[in-house]
Amino acid sequence: MTDFGLDGYKQGWKDKLFGMSFIYMFLIIILAGIGTMTLYSAANGDWQPWAIRHITRFVTAFALMIAMALIDAKYYYKSAYAFYFATFMMLVAVELMGHTGMGAQRWINLGIFKLQPSELMKIGIVLFLARYFSVTTVQGIKSVRGIIIPAVFTILPVALIAVEPDLGTALMVLCTASVMLFAVGVQWWKFAGAAAAVAATLPVVWNCLHEYQQNRVLTFLNPERDPLGTGYHIIQSKIAFGSGGIFGKGFLRGTQTHLNFLPEKHTDFIFTMFSEEFGMLGSFCLIFINMLILAMGYVFAYRSRNYFARLTIVGLNTNYFLYVFINIAMVMGVLPVVGVPLPLISYGGTVMFSIMASFGIMLCMSVNYDNNTE
């Protein structure tokens, strides 16, 4: 199927490199810089143990991003299904190991690092759906039958991730897939129908949730329910935000964090720490940088004339949006605490590499935007 391009004129790697958006890369570096600085503060003004490793990881991940951006876009197209199925098999493997091991099992130990298949699935589902829809017809998309296959191939990994249990990631994958379905033109009423169906099954789902998950939702609805247990985190987080005020308490001077009232300050609650020290103005800047990154992603998608590339960018951009939105919303008590980190800021290798890989794919798609030779 040469109709859909990706195999026409070949760019050299230099053309590609200089065709990439430097502004985009610059914004990413700025975010990682803010992350390093905040981790330095989280360790009470020490490069150890987080800041130095964060910056090392970022440099490695940045190289990975460039490498992935330089790969020919058609390889992503060609290997989309294979990647999806390989990831799917890993999810099954993790699920089986989880039954033999103790409690929740989310990763496969590869020696040098631990691989989280659920994290790969965030990219896998995007590539799968982008490829699937790039060859369907409008009529196909608009028919009920046309979305059965993508729906099934979405629900299966979501269900596997949910039973790990990792409800946050499962919902993120489901959301990303839904946005992609919306992007390709699935009618509004089908979403309404699905929403109604979800609402109807909610009581059933509630009963299937683990007790700690139920507690999280209940505590989210009323943090004072358990001020010393699960509600403690969110109450302390809100105190940190509020006491930061407009201008913040200053770098290295956030009392809530430095006196250890705030939990998980270097991972999930890092935005709280940033906001306590830099206030509302600093937080607005951080959100604004993220908006710029997202906006540039949508511009890439807009400019590209390759459907697979466009849909891939929409999917990956949505994934990034969900990370940022869910993290900030949960630490401010707008969403339940579901354990989603803030990309490039939070300490942690998995999200760093997975998000930089997705930036790499988006950059790749952006430099191949005019590759759609009919």
Binding site: D3, F133, T137, V138, Q139, I141, V179, F182, A183, V184, G185, Q236, K238, I239, A240, F241, G242, S243, G244, G245, I246, T255, Q256, H258, L259, N260, F261, S275, G279, M280, S283, F284, I287, N290, M291, L294, A295, Y298, A301, Y302, R305, Y307, R310, L311, V314, T318, F321, F325, I328, A329, M332, V334, E374
Partner: protein
């Protein structure tokens, strides 16, 4: 390009716009939330943040010192050195403990407690190794400081009573706050501070607020685990006020020692001012034992002793006044005009009242005697006759006037009011009418009448000072000239008559307390004895001969009273002495009172 492909791209571009719009809208919601938290609710959260990080602690102020009338310290704060260990500051706790024990050995029990505390507490919290170190031990620890990492010396203050058991019943003692104490002090955060001591009894308790002073506060920055990071602010507070008492330690000591092994109480009062110069209750206890919590063994010893060392018998002990009450009866009768100096009654050793026979203590009888003689010999028949004629109401009126039957509020806890009966009181409590025999019994201070030693000395003071309503007090500084006390409506002539009676008791030939008399450069004592039954003597026993007190078990022996004053011409000191089960007022109580009053005269208390 295929048409469906163009359409698909069109749809994607349109929907891309919506997706982007939703993304930006979502971020706008987050920013609105930030604005709400960081601008609108900032003040509330700033306060909560400070509550988190700032811990206010109390600096306990030294308790006020208590002095006797000569400026002698009778309650003070003593520096108490404690050795503490902070687990996180030593690389090897067991090694440090071994080194420590080379200097100050710990018992197995103490060591076990230290190890348990270290295990249970956070590593930066100091754990007590040893209390009450002396200066030698402290300097040894400081000298070996390099071998004792994590060991600290803490200076605290402990209440100390230098006179130990001498002042136990006046001063009381301090102790840790109990759950009961907290109930009345809900809004006082000091009561939650560990190590805070309050007055638990005696003057320590009644003047607690004054003695406590005002505690200071220090504001500290603490982290989530309670570790202190730095000091933010300090407010010093001020020391408790000191207390100047009216008591004289020398006289107090003499009074205490005069009792020897006897169980009883004595109160010495300045008849002109009501100042209490000494108040003892024996046996006593060491209040220092209570400061850091009394051991079960000591507590058991004190609380099961039949001579009740924990009770202040001077204010809480209620006894029949016996013959000492004849002063009240005599005054009531004289004031009512029922008798005068020349009224004589005949004592034949016994008389019939109703159909009951009443005896005089001297069953041979005293013959005919007047009021002065009746007091001198303590004739019972005279006072049966007098009481029957004057009636209980008049006696009661006089008793209340002189300070009996009521609490006198000297600031010691558990002060009893005693009892002066009346006709209506008997009706209410026994549902029977007042019988003539009740009046006769009241006439000799038996039956329902009861008083405390403090009341008795107050009564005596009010009589011998010429009828001024002095009130007992422990606090110096509010000294009142006797003219400023209310003059009681008692004629001087009648007062002189009973004083003469009391002079004769001690100094007259055949007076009941003649053995206790003294003559210090012409200064003499007057007084009145009293011996009160604690059991009823049956008719059968009277017929077969009354069993002598020394043959009875201690608990059944008579109480012995004596109240005395000196100098006779211009009274200054009054004393009331009770010796529980002392058998004889003249034989046991009077010599003690005599010793105490002589000591007071010799000391010439200022």
């Amino acid at each position: 390009m295929n048409s469906y492909n163009i359409e698909k791209n069109h749809i994607l571009s349109r929907r891309l716009f919506w997706i982007m719009a939703v993304n930006f809208l979502a971020f706008t919601v987050l920013m609105a939330r930030l604005y709400f938290l960081q601008v609108f609710e900032a003040d509330k959260y700033r306060m909560l943040s400070d509550e988190n990080r700032i811990s206010t602690r109390f600096l306990l102020s030294p308790r006020g010192t208590i002095y006797d009338r000569n400026g002698e310290i009778i309650a003070k704060n003593e520096q108490n050195f404690q050795a503490l260990i902070i687990a996180e500051q030593t690389p090897d706790i067991e090694e440090t403990l071994r080194e420590f024990e080379k200097i100050i050995p710990l018992s197995e029990e103490e060591e076990g407690k230290v190890l348990k505390d270290i295990k249970n507490k956070r590593r930066f919290i100091p754990v007590k190794l040893k209390d009450n170190l002396n200066w030698d031990e402290v300097s040894q620890i400081l000298l070996h400081a390099p071998d004792l990492p994590g060991v600290e010396i803490n200076e605290g203050l402990t209440r100390k009573y230098p006179y130990a058991e001498l002042y136990a019943h006046i001063l009381g003692y301090v102790g840790a706050v109990s759950e009961n104490d907290k109930k009345d002090q809900k809004d006082n955060p000091l009561y939650m501070v560990p190590g805070f001591k309050i007055g638990k009894s005696g003057l320590e308790r009644s003047f607690d607020y004054k003695l406590q002073g005002k505690s200071g506060t220090v504001k500290l920055e603490v982290n989530a685990y309670g570790r202190v990071m730095k000091e933010i602010e300090r407010d010093g507070g001020h020391q408790g006020e000191s207390l100047n008492l009216t008591v004289d330690s020398r006289l107090q000591k003499a009074a205490y020692e005069a009792f020897g092994e006897e169980s009883g109480a004595a109160v010495v009062m300045d008849v002109r001012s009501g100042e209490i110069l000494a108040m003892v209750s024996t046996p006593s206890f060491d209040p220092n034992l209570f400061t850091n919590g009394i051991s079960y063994k000591h507590w058991n010893e004190l609380s099961t002793n039949e001579r009740t060392p924990l009770v202040n018998k001077a204010v809480s002990g209620q006894y029949s006044p016996g013959s000492t009450f004849k002063i009240v009866v005599a005054l009531a009768a004289l004031e009512a005009g029922i008798i005068d100096a020349d009224t004589h009654y005949y004592c034949a050793g016994g008389m019939e009242i109703g159909n009951i026979r009443f005896h005089c203590w001297n069953h041979y009888g005293h013959g005919s005697l007047n009021v002065v003689e009746a007091l001198k010999y303590s004739c019972d028949i005279f006072f049966y006759e007098t009481a029957l004629r004057v009636g209980v109401d008049k006696i009661r009126e006089m008793a209340l006037k002189l300070g009996l039957g009521q609490t006198l509020s000297v600031g010691l806890g558990n002060e009893k009011s005693g009892l002066i009966p009346s006709k209506s009181w008997k009706k209410a409590n026994y549902d029977t009418l007042w019988a003539p025999g009740d009046s006769a019994n009241t006439g000799i201070g038996q039956g329902y009448v009861s008083v405390t030693p403090l009341q008795l000395v107050t009564m005596l003071s009010r009589v011998v000072n010429g009828g001024y309503a002095v009130s007992p007090t422990f606090i110096r500084g509010n000294e009142k000239d006797r003219k400023s006390f209310k003059r009681l409506d008692i004629s001087t002539r009648n007062i002189e008559l009973v004083k003469q009676g009391m002079y004769e008791v001690v100094n007259g030939v055949g007076g009941t307390a003649k053995k206790a008399k003294f003559n210090l450069d012409g200064v003499r004592m007057g007084g009145k004895t009293g011996t009160t039954q604690v059991r009823r003597i049956s008719m059968k026993e009277r017929r077969s001969g009354i069993i002598h007190d020394s043959q009875l078990p201690w608990k059944l022996r008579n109480h012995a009273w004596f109240m005395g004053f000196t100098p006779v011409d211009n009274p200054r000191y009054a004393v009331a002495v009770i010796v529980e089960h002392g058998s004889s007022g003249s034989g046991v109580a009077a010599p003690i009172a005599s010793k105490i009053l002589q000591e007071a005269l010799i000391l010439d208390i200022k």
